[in-house]
Protein backbone atom coordinates (compact mmCIF):
# COMPACT_ATOMS: atom_id res chain seq x y z
CA UNK A 1 0.00 0.00 0.00
CA UNK A 2 1.54 3.32 -1.07
CA UNK A 3 1.42 5.80 1.81
CA UNK A 4 3.33 9.08 1.68
CA UNK A 5 4.93 10.67 4.74
CA UNK A 6 4.36 14.22 5.95
CA UNK A 7 7.75 14.39 7.65
CA UNK A 8 10.31 16.84 6.29
CA UNK A 9 13.95 15.80 5.96
CA UNK A 10 15.05 19.20 7.34
CA UNK A 11 13.30 18.41 10.63
CA UNK A 12 15.10 15.09 11.13
CA UNK A 13 17.20 14.90 14.32
CA UNK A 14 19.67 12.45 12.78
CA UNK A 15 20.70 11.70 9.22
CA UNK A 16 23.23 9.02 8.23
CA UNK A 17 24.29 7.85 4.81
CA UNK A 18 25.06 4.11 4.77
CA UNK A 19 27.43 3.35 1.87
CA UNK A 20 26.90 0.22 -0.23
CA UNK A 21 28.22 -2.84 1.59
CA UNK A 22 28.36 -1.07 4.97
CA UNK A 23 26.19 -1.39 8.08
CA UNK A 24 24.15 0.85 10.40
CA UNK A 25 23.67 -0.05 14.05
CA UNK A 26 21.97 2.56 16.22
CA UNK A 27 19.15 2.86 18.73
CA UNK A 28 15.87 4.43 17.68
CA UNK A 29 13.93 5.52 20.77
CA UNK A 30 10.28 4.74 21.47
CA UNK A 31 8.14 7.30 19.64
CA UNK A 32 10.84 8.23 17.12
CA UNK A 33 10.27 7.58 13.43
CA UNK A 34 12.92 6.00 11.19
CA UNK A 35 12.97 6.44 7.43
CA UNK A 36 15.09 4.22 5.19
CA UNK A 37 15.59 6.07 1.93
CA UNK A 38 16.69 4.29 -1.25
CA UNK A 39 18.90 7.07 -2.62
CA UNK A 40 19.71 5.74 -6.07
CA UNK A 41 17.08 3.00 -6.44
CA UNK A 42 16.87 -0.79 -6.49
CA UNK A 43 18.85 -1.25 -3.28
CA UNK A 44 18.10 -4.02 -0.78
CA UNK A 45 18.31 -3.01 2.90
CA UNK A 46 18.63 -6.14 5.07
CA UNK A 47 17.42 -5.17 8.52
CA UNK A 48 17.12 -6.67 12.00
CA UNK A 49 15.50 -5.12 15.08
CA UNK A 50 16.09 -5.80 18.78
CA UNK A 51 14.54 -4.47 21.98
CA UNK A 52 17.36 -2.15 23.16
CA UNK A 53 16.61 -2.95 26.80
CA UNK A 54 16.58 -6.74 26.31
CA UNK A 55 18.04 -7.78 22.95
CA UNK A 56 16.91 -11.40 23.44
CA UNK A 57 13.60 -9.93 22.31
CA UNK A 58 13.99 -9.36 18.56
CA UNK A 59 12.21 -9.15 15.24
CA UNK A 60 10.42 -12.36 14.32
CA UNK A 61 9.50 -12.79 10.66
CA UNK A 62 7.28 -15.79 11.43
CA UNK A 63 5.24 -13.99 14.10
CA UNK A 64 4.97 -10.85 11.98
CA UNK A 65 3.62 -12.49 8.84
CA UNK A 66 1.41 -15.00 10.64
CA UNK A 67 -0.29 -12.42 12.83
CA UNK A 68 -0.93 -10.01 9.95
CA UNK A 69 -1.95 -12.95 7.74
CA UNK A 70 0.23 -11.86 4.82
CA UNK A 71 3.78 -12.54 3.67
CA UNK A 72 4.50 -9.00 2.41
CA UNK A 73 5.25 -5.99 4.60
CA UNK A 74 3.91 -2.50 3.90
CA UNK A 75 2.28 0.50 5.60
CA UNK A 76 0.22 -0.73 8.55
CA UNK A 77 2.43 -3.75 9.20
CA UNK A 78 3.40 -4.16 12.83
CA UNK A 79 6.91 -5.62 13.07
CA UNK A 80 6.47 -8.13 15.89
CA UNK A 81 9.05 -9.60 18.25
CA UNK A 82 9.52 -13.21 19.26
CA UNK A 83 7.53 -12.26 22.38
CA UNK A 84 4.64 -11.03 20.24
CA UNK A 85 5.20 -7.34 21.04
CA UNK A 86 5.34 -4.56 18.45
CA UNK A 87 8.88 -3.29 17.88
CA UNK A 88 8.02 -0.94 15.01
CA UNK A 89 4.98 -0.11 12.92
CA UNK A 90 5.38 0.82 9.27
CA UNK A 91 3.74 4.23 8.89
CA UNK A 92 4.69 5.22 5.36
CA UNK A 93 5.84 3.31 2.30
CA UNK A 94 6.32 4.59 -1.24
CA UNK A 95 7.59 1.23 -2.49
CA UNK A 96 4.48 -0.86 -1.68
CA UNK A 97 5.92 -4.20 -0.76
CA UNK A 98 8.90 -5.49 1.24
CA UNK A 99 10.19 -9.04 1.71
CA UNK A 100 10.82 -10.95 4.90
CA UNK A 101 11.20 -14.51 3.54
CA UNK A 102 14.40 -14.21 1.52
CA UNK A 103 16.77 -13.55 4.39
CA UNK A 104 20.22 -12.10 3.97
CA UNK A 105 23.10 -13.16 1.78
CA UNK A 106 26.02 -14.96 3.35
CA UNK A 107 29.31 -16.16 1.93
CA UNK A 108 28.22 -19.75 2.61
CA UNK A 109 24.79 -19.42 1.02
CA UNK A 110 26.44 -17.73 -1.98
CA UNK A 111 28.32 -21.00 -2.59
CA UNK A 112 25.00 -22.81 -2.81
CA UNK A 113 23.11 -20.19 -4.77
CA UNK A 114 25.74 -19.20 -7.32
CA UNK A 115 29.02 -21.09 -7.26
CA UNK A 116 31.51 -22.48 -4.77
CA UNK A 117 34.00 -19.97 -6.15
CA UNK A 118 31.82 -17.04 -4.96
CA UNK A 119 32.45 -17.84 -1.32
CA UNK A 120 34.73 -14.89 -0.61
CA UNK A 121 32.46 -12.18 -2.03
CA UNK A 122 31.21 -9.63 0.51
CA UNK A 123 27.84 -10.50 2.04
CA UNK A 124 25.24 -9.08 4.45
CA UNK A 125 25.90 -11.55 7.23
CA UNK A 126 29.58 -10.55 7.22
CA UNK A 127 28.51 -6.92 7.64
CA UNK A 128 26.30 -7.87 10.58
CA UNK A 129 29.07 -9.91 12.21
CA UNK A 130 31.40 -6.92 11.92
CA UNK A 131 28.66 -4.68 13.32
CA UNK A 132 28.12 -6.81 16.43
CA UNK A 133 31.91 -7.12 16.93
CA UNK A 134 32.44 -3.36 16.64
CA UNK A 135 29.50 -2.58 18.94
CA UNK A 136 30.06 -4.83 21.97
CA UNK A 137 27.91 -2.50 24.11
CA UNK A 138 24.84 -4.26 22.69
CA UNK A 139 26.04 -7.73 23.76
CA UNK A 140 25.05 -9.38 20.48
CA UNK A 141 26.82 -12.22 18.66
CA UNK A 142 26.26 -14.61 15.77
CA UNK A 143 23.44 -16.36 17.62
CA UNK A 144 21.48 -13.11 17.43
CA UNK A 145 21.80 -12.84 13.65
CA UNK A 146 18.36 -14.09 12.71
CA UNK A 147 15.70 -13.91 10.04
CA UNK A 148 15.51 -10.35 8.72
CA UNK A 149 13.48 -7.94 6.61
CA UNK A 150 14.64 -7.03 3.11
CA UNK A 151 13.33 -3.52 2.63
CA UNK A 152 12.88 -2.64 -1.06
CA UNK A 153 13.11 -6.28 -2.13
CA UNK A 154 10.51 -8.11 -4.17
CA UNK A 155 10.20 -11.85 -3.50
CA UNK A 156 6.84 -13.03 -4.85
CA UNK A 157 5.26 -16.23 -3.52
CA UNK A 158 2.79 -18.23 -5.63
CA UNK A 159 -0.29 -20.25 -4.66
CA UNK A 160 1.52 -23.40 -5.78
CA UNK A 161 4.29 -22.72 -3.25
CA UNK A 162 6.94 -21.17 -5.51
CA UNK A 163 9.18 -18.28 -4.54
CA UNK A 164 11.30 -16.11 -6.83
CA UNK A 165 13.73 -13.22 -6.51
CA UNK A 166 12.64 -10.53 -8.87
CA UNK A 167 13.99 -7.20 -9.93
CA UNK A 168 13.31 -4.68 -7.19
CA UNK A 169 10.20 -2.52 -7.36
CA UNK A 170 11.98 0.32 -5.63
CA UNK A 171 13.46 3.34 -7.34
CA UNK A 172 15.56 6.39 -6.51
CA UNK A 173 13.90 8.39 -3.73
CA UNK A 174 11.53 5.64 -2.57
CA UNK A 175 11.36 5.10 1.16
CA UNK A 176 9.81 3.18 3.98
CA UNK A 177 9.11 4.75 7.34
CA UNK A 178 8.41 3.16 10.71
CA UNK A 179 7.61 4.36 14.20
CA UNK A 180 9.32 2.71 17.15
CA UNK A 181 6.96 1.27 19.78
CA UNK A 182 9.91 0.67 22.15
CA UNK A 183 13.60 1.56 22.20
CA UNK A 184 14.92 -0.49 19.30
CA UNK A 185 18.41 -1.39 18.06
CA UNK A 186 18.32 -1.09 14.28
CA UNK A 187 20.91 -3.29 12.58
CA UNK A 188 20.99 -2.77 8.83
CA UNK A 189 23.27 -4.22 6.19
CA UNK A 190 23.24 -2.21 3.01
CA UNK A 191 23.35 -5.27 0.80
CA UNK A 192 26.57 -5.85 -1.18
CA UNK A 193 25.16 -8.69 -3.31
CA UNK A 194 26.48 -8.63 -6.90
CA UNK A 195 24.99 -11.91 -8.11
CA UNK A 196 21.27 -11.26 -8.35
CA UNK A 197 18.91 -8.46 -9.33
CA UNK A 198 18.08 -7.41 -5.74
CA UNK A 199 20.50 -4.45 -6.12
CA UNK A 200 20.31 -4.29 -9.92
CA UNK A 201 23.90 -5.68 -9.79
CA UNK A 202 24.99 -2.25 -8.58
CA UNK A 203 24.91 -1.68 -4.79
CA UNK A 204 24.26 1.96 -3.86
CA UNK A 205 23.87 3.96 -0.60
CA UNK A 206 20.77 4.34 1.56
CA UNK A 207 20.03 7.16 4.00
CA UNK A 208 18.70 6.66 7.53
CA UNK A 209 16.65 9.59 8.87
CA UNK A 210 15.25 9.80 12.40
CA UNK A 211 12.58 12.21 13.67
CA UNK A 212 11.46 12.82 17.22
CA UNK A 213 7.80 12.30 18.07
CA UNK A 214 5.79 15.45 17.32
Amino acid sequence: MITESLLQAEQAVRRDIVPAGDYYMKVVKAGQTLRILDLEGNQAADTLFYNANDPSERYSAMDTIREQGSVYLTAGTKLLSNDGNTLMEITADTCGRHDTLGGACATESNTVRYSLEKKCMHACRDSWLLAVAENPQFGLSKRDITHNINFFMNVPVTKEGGLTFEDGISGAGKYVEMKAAMDVIVLLSNCPQLNNPCNAYNPTPVEMLVWNEV
Partner: protein, 256 residues
Protein backbone atom coordinates in the same frame (compact mmCIF):
# COMPACT_ATOMS: atom_id res chain seq x y z
CA UNK B 1 -3.75 -41.05 27.56
CA UNK B 2 -5.51 -43.32 25.06
CA UNK B 3 -4.70 -43.47 21.37
CA UNK B 4 -7.13 -45.43 19.26
CA UNK B 5 -5.22 -45.25 16.01
CA UNK B 6 -4.21 -48.38 14.20
CA UNK B 7 -0.51 -49.19 14.30
CA UNK B 8 1.38 -47.40 11.58
CA UNK B 9 3.22 -49.49 9.05
CA UNK B 10 6.54 -50.41 10.57
CA UNK B 11 9.63 -48.97 8.98
CA UNK B 12 11.84 -51.66 7.50
CA UNK B 13 14.99 -52.31 9.53
CA UNK B 14 14.13 -49.67 12.10
CA UNK B 15 16.84 -49.27 14.71
CA UNK B 16 14.10 -48.07 17.01
CA UNK B 17 10.66 -46.54 16.93
CA UNK B 18 9.13 -44.29 19.51
CA UNK B 19 5.84 -42.65 20.23
CA UNK B 20 5.78 -38.91 20.92
CA UNK B 21 2.43 -37.79 22.40
CA UNK B 22 0.80 -34.51 21.38
CA UNK B 23 1.69 -31.32 23.29
CA UNK B 24 5.19 -32.70 23.86
CA UNK B 25 8.82 -32.17 22.92
CA UNK B 26 11.84 -34.35 22.39
CA UNK B 27 15.26 -34.27 20.71
CA UNK B 28 17.86 -36.62 19.32
CA UNK B 29 21.11 -36.50 17.43
CA UNK B 30 20.67 -38.25 14.09
CA UNK B 31 23.97 -39.39 12.57
CA UNK B 32 24.73 -38.77 8.89
CA UNK B 33 23.40 -41.57 6.69
CA UNK B 34 20.32 -42.22 8.80
CA UNK B 35 16.67 -41.84 7.96
CA UNK B 36 14.22 -40.32 10.44
CA UNK B 37 10.63 -41.12 9.50
CA UNK B 38 7.96 -39.03 11.24
CA UNK B 39 4.45 -40.48 11.06
CA UNK B 40 1.16 -38.76 11.85
CA UNK B 41 -0.64 -41.48 13.82
CA UNK B 42 -4.18 -40.12 13.95
CA UNK B 43 -4.30 -37.41 11.25
CA UNK B 44 -4.06 -33.66 11.73
CA UNK B 45 -0.85 -33.73 13.79
CA UNK B 46 1.82 -31.04 13.72
CA UNK B 47 5.54 -31.53 14.27
CA UNK B 48 7.55 -28.33 14.67
CA UNK B 49 11.23 -29.01 14.05
CA UNK B 50 14.55 -27.22 14.41
CA UNK B 51 18.01 -28.46 13.46
CA UNK B 52 21.47 -27.68 14.86
CA UNK B 53 24.99 -28.95 14.29
CA UNK B 54 25.77 -30.79 17.55
CA UNK B 55 29.50 -29.96 17.27
CA UNK B 56 28.88 -26.26 16.54
CA UNK B 57 25.50 -25.20 17.89
CA UNK B 58 25.88 -21.83 16.17
CA UNK B 59 25.23 -23.64 12.90
CA UNK B 60 21.47 -24.02 12.67
CA UNK B 61 18.54 -24.47 10.31
CA UNK B 62 18.07 -21.38 8.19
CA UNK B 63 14.63 -20.96 6.66
CA UNK B 64 15.50 -18.14 4.23
CA UNK B 65 18.55 -19.95 2.83
CA UNK B 66 16.45 -23.12 2.46
CA UNK B 67 13.61 -21.35 0.66
CA UNK B 68 15.47 -18.96 -1.62
CA UNK B 69 18.13 -21.54 -2.51
CA UNK B 70 15.46 -23.87 -3.88
CA UNK B 71 13.10 -21.13 -5.12
CA UNK B 72 10.29 -22.51 -3.01
CA UNK B 73 7.83 -21.46 -0.32
CA UNK B 74 6.58 -24.95 0.41
CA UNK B 75 8.89 -27.81 1.36
CA UNK B 76 8.29 -31.38 0.24
CA UNK B 77 9.93 -34.47 -1.24
CA UNK B 78 13.04 -33.47 -3.20
CA UNK B 79 13.88 -30.45 -1.06
CA UNK B 80 16.81 -30.16 1.32
CA UNK B 81 16.89 -28.35 4.67
CA UNK B 82 19.93 -26.07 4.88
CA UNK B 83 22.00 -24.69 7.71
CA UNK B 84 23.15 -21.08 7.72
CA UNK B 85 26.62 -22.39 6.73
CA UNK B 86 25.63 -23.56 3.24
CA UNK B 87 25.33 -27.21 4.24
CA UNK B 88 22.44 -29.64 4.14
CA UNK B 89 21.22 -31.07 7.43
CA UNK B 90 18.76 -33.41 5.76
CA UNK B 91 16.92 -34.19 2.55
CA UNK B 92 13.17 -34.74 2.41
CA UNK B 93 13.20 -38.12 0.66
CA UNK B 94 9.47 -38.79 1.10
CA UNK B 95 6.41 -36.74 2.00
CA UNK B 96 2.94 -38.30 1.89
CA UNK B 97 1.37 -34.89 2.54
CA UNK B 98 2.98 -32.96 -0.33
CA UNK B 99 3.60 -29.82 1.72
CA UNK B 100 5.61 -28.98 4.83
CA UNK B 101 4.91 -25.51 6.26
CA UNK B 102 7.92 -23.19 6.20
CA UNK B 103 6.56 -19.97 7.75
CA UNK B 104 3.86 -20.58 10.38
CA UNK B 105 6.23 -20.70 13.34
CA UNK B 106 4.87 -21.75 16.73
CA UNK B 107 2.21 -20.48 19.13
CA UNK B 108 3.28 -18.97 22.44
CA UNK B 109 1.47 -19.28 25.77
CA UNK B 110 -0.70 -16.22 25.14
CA UNK B 111 -1.78 -17.45 21.71
CA UNK B 112 -2.71 -20.89 23.04
CA UNK B 113 -4.63 -19.26 25.87
CA UNK B 114 -6.51 -17.01 23.44
CA UNK B 115 -7.38 -19.92 21.16
CA UNK B 116 -7.87 -22.89 23.45
CA UNK B 117 -7.73 -21.85 27.09
CA UNK B 118 -5.35 -21.74 30.01
CA UNK B 119 -2.47 -24.12 30.52
CA UNK B 120 -3.29 -26.00 33.72
CA UNK B 121 -0.99 -28.84 34.71
CA UNK B 122 -2.67 -29.59 38.04
CA UNK B 123 -5.98 -30.23 36.33
CA UNK B 124 -4.88 -31.65 32.99
CA UNK B 125 -1.56 -33.32 33.79
CA UNK B 126 0.23 -34.11 30.53
CA UNK B 127 -2.87 -33.30 28.52
CA UNK B 128 -2.20 -29.68 29.45
CA UNK B 129 -2.41 -26.99 26.79
CA UNK B 130 1.32 -26.72 26.14
CA UNK B 131 2.48 -24.21 23.54
CA UNK B 132 5.05 -24.78 20.83
CA UNK B 133 7.27 -21.87 21.85
CA UNK B 134 7.81 -23.05 25.44
CA UNK B 135 8.08 -26.60 24.18
CA UNK B 136 10.98 -25.77 21.81
CA UNK B 137 12.55 -23.46 24.39
CA UNK B 138 12.71 -26.24 26.99
CA UNK B 139 14.13 -28.74 24.53
CA UNK B 140 16.91 -26.47 23.20
CA UNK B 141 17.82 -25.52 26.79
CA UNK B 142 19.02 -29.11 27.28
CA UNK B 143 21.90 -28.20 24.96
CA UNK B 144 22.69 -24.81 26.52
CA UNK B 145 20.60 -22.91 24.00
CA UNK B 146 17.89 -20.36 24.74
CA UNK B 147 15.49 -17.83 23.39
CA UNK B 148 18.17 -16.18 21.24
CA UNK B 149 18.76 -19.49 19.45
CA UNK B 150 15.18 -20.27 18.42
CA UNK B 151 15.19 -19.74 14.68
CA UNK B 152 12.25 -20.09 12.29
CA UNK B 153 11.08 -23.72 12.41
CA UNK B 154 9.39 -26.03 9.95
CA UNK B 155 5.98 -27.57 10.64
CA UNK B 156 5.65 -31.11 9.30
CA UNK B 157 2.05 -32.23 8.53
CA UNK B 158 0.89 -28.59 8.25
CA UNK B 159 0.17 -26.51 5.16
CA UNK B 160 -0.03 -22.73 4.92
CA UNK B 161 -0.60 -21.28 1.44
CA UNK B 162 -0.20 -17.75 0.14
CA UNK B 163 -2.40 -16.22 -2.56
CA UNK B 164 -1.19 -13.73 -5.17
CA UNK B 165 -1.63 -10.86 -2.72
CA UNK B 166 0.48 -12.68 -0.14
CA UNK B 167 -2.47 -13.48 2.12
CA UNK B 168 -1.95 -16.65 4.16
CA UNK B 169 -4.40 -19.50 4.72
CA UNK B 170 -4.02 -22.58 6.92
CA UNK B 171 -5.24 -25.66 5.05
CA UNK B 172 -7.30 -27.91 7.32
CA UNK B 173 -7.23 -31.71 7.26
CA UNK B 174 -3.93 -31.63 5.39
CA UNK B 175 -2.34 -34.71 6.93
CA UNK B 176 -4.12 -38.08 7.20
CA UNK B 177 -3.63 -40.88 9.72
CA UNK B 178 -0.56 -42.85 8.66
CA UNK B 179 1.01 -40.08 6.54
CA UNK B 180 4.74 -39.87 7.00
CA UNK B 181 7.66 -37.65 6.09
CA UNK B 182 11.13 -39.16 5.61
CA UNK B 183 14.21 -37.08 6.43
CA UNK B 184 17.56 -38.48 5.32
CA UNK B 185 20.38 -36.84 7.27
CA UNK B 186 23.37 -35.71 5.26
CA UNK B 187 25.39 -34.68 8.34
CA UNK B 188 25.21 -35.37 12.06
CA UNK B 189 22.30 -33.25 13.27
CA UNK B 190 20.66 -32.31 16.54
CA UNK B 191 16.92 -32.55 15.85
CA UNK B 192 14.49 -30.68 18.11
CA UNK B 193 10.83 -31.61 17.81
CA UNK B 194 7.61 -30.32 19.35
CA UNK B 195 4.18 -31.85 18.76
CA UNK B 196 2.25 -28.81 19.95
CA UNK B 197 -0.49 -27.61 17.58
CA UNK B 198 0.17 -25.29 14.67
CA UNK B 199 -0.55 -21.66 15.65
CA UNK B 200 -2.97 -21.20 12.74
CA UNK B 201 -4.98 -24.36 13.38
CA UNK B 202 -8.60 -23.14 13.68
CA UNK B 203 -9.80 -26.22 15.60
CA UNK B 204 -12.21 -25.44 18.45
CA UNK B 205 -10.55 -28.05 20.64
CA UNK B 206 -6.83 -28.01 21.40
CA UNK B 207 -5.47 -30.60 18.93
CA UNK B 208 -3.50 -33.07 21.06
CA UNK B 209 -2.15 -35.46 18.44
CA UNK B 210 0.82 -37.85 18.59
CA UNK B 211 3.50 -38.74 16.07
CA UNK B 212 5.80 -41.70 15.73
CA UNK B 213 9.53 -41.38 15.15
CA UNK B 214 11.40 -44.18 13.45
CA UNK B 215 15.15 -44.22 12.96
CA UNK B 216 16.78 -46.49 10.38
CA UNK B 217 19.88 -46.67 8.18
CA UNK B 218 19.34 -44.68 4.98
CA UNK B 219 19.95 -46.22 1.58
CA UNK B 220 23.11 -44.84 -0.05
CA UNK B 221 22.74 -41.55 -1.94
CA UNK B 222 22.80 -42.66 -5.56
CA UNK B 223 24.25 -40.53 -8.35
CA UNK B 224 20.70 -39.82 -9.65
CA UNK B 225 19.33 -38.93 -6.20
CA UNK B 226 16.22 -36.76 -6.46
CA UNK B 227 17.21 -34.30 -3.72
CA UNK B 228 20.84 -33.91 -4.78
CA UNK B 229 19.74 -33.29 -8.38
CA UNK B 230 16.66 -31.14 -7.79
CA UNK B 231 18.55 -27.98 -8.78
CA UNK B 232 22.11 -26.77 -9.17
CA UNK B 233 21.87 -25.28 -5.69
CA UNK B 234 21.37 -28.71 -4.13
CA UNK B 235 24.22 -30.21 -6.13
CA UNK B 236 26.45 -27.49 -4.69
CA UNK B 237 24.97 -28.00 -1.21
CA UNK B 238 25.87 -31.70 -1.39
CA UNK B 239 29.38 -30.72 -2.52
CA UNK B 240 29.68 -28.46 0.55
CA UNK B 241 28.66 -31.45 2.69
CA UNK B 242 31.18 -33.68 0.94
CA UNK B 243 33.96 -31.23 1.74
CA UNK B 244 32.72 -30.94 5.35
CA UNK B 245 32.37 -34.70 5.85
CA UNK B 246 35.92 -35.41 4.76
CA UNK B 247 37.03 -33.30 7.72
CA UNK B 248 34.99 -35.64 9.92
CA UNK B 249 35.83 -38.99 8.34
CA UNK B 250 32.27 -39.71 7.14
CA UNK B 251 31.58 -41.28 3.77
CA UNK B 252 27.87 -40.41 3.46
CA UNK B 253 28.00 -38.42 0.22
CA UNK B 254 26.56 -38.72 -3.26
CA UNK B 255 27.75 -41.89 -4.99
CA UNK B 256 29.87 -42.92 -2.01
Amino acid sequence: MQHNSSSPSRIENAIYEEHIPGASHWSLVVPAGHLLTVTDLEGGANASMLFYNPTNLLERYNAPDTLKGQHTFKLTQGHCLYSDMGRIFCSIVSDDTGWVDSVGGVANKQKVQDKWGTRDYQHDHNNWLQNGYDSLLVEVAKYGLGKRDLAANINIFSKVVSDDQGDLTFVESHSKAGDSVGLRFEMDTLVIISTCPHPMNPSNEYPNLPVQLSLSKAAPVEIDDQCANLCGENTRGFENNRRYQCQHGHTHTVGA
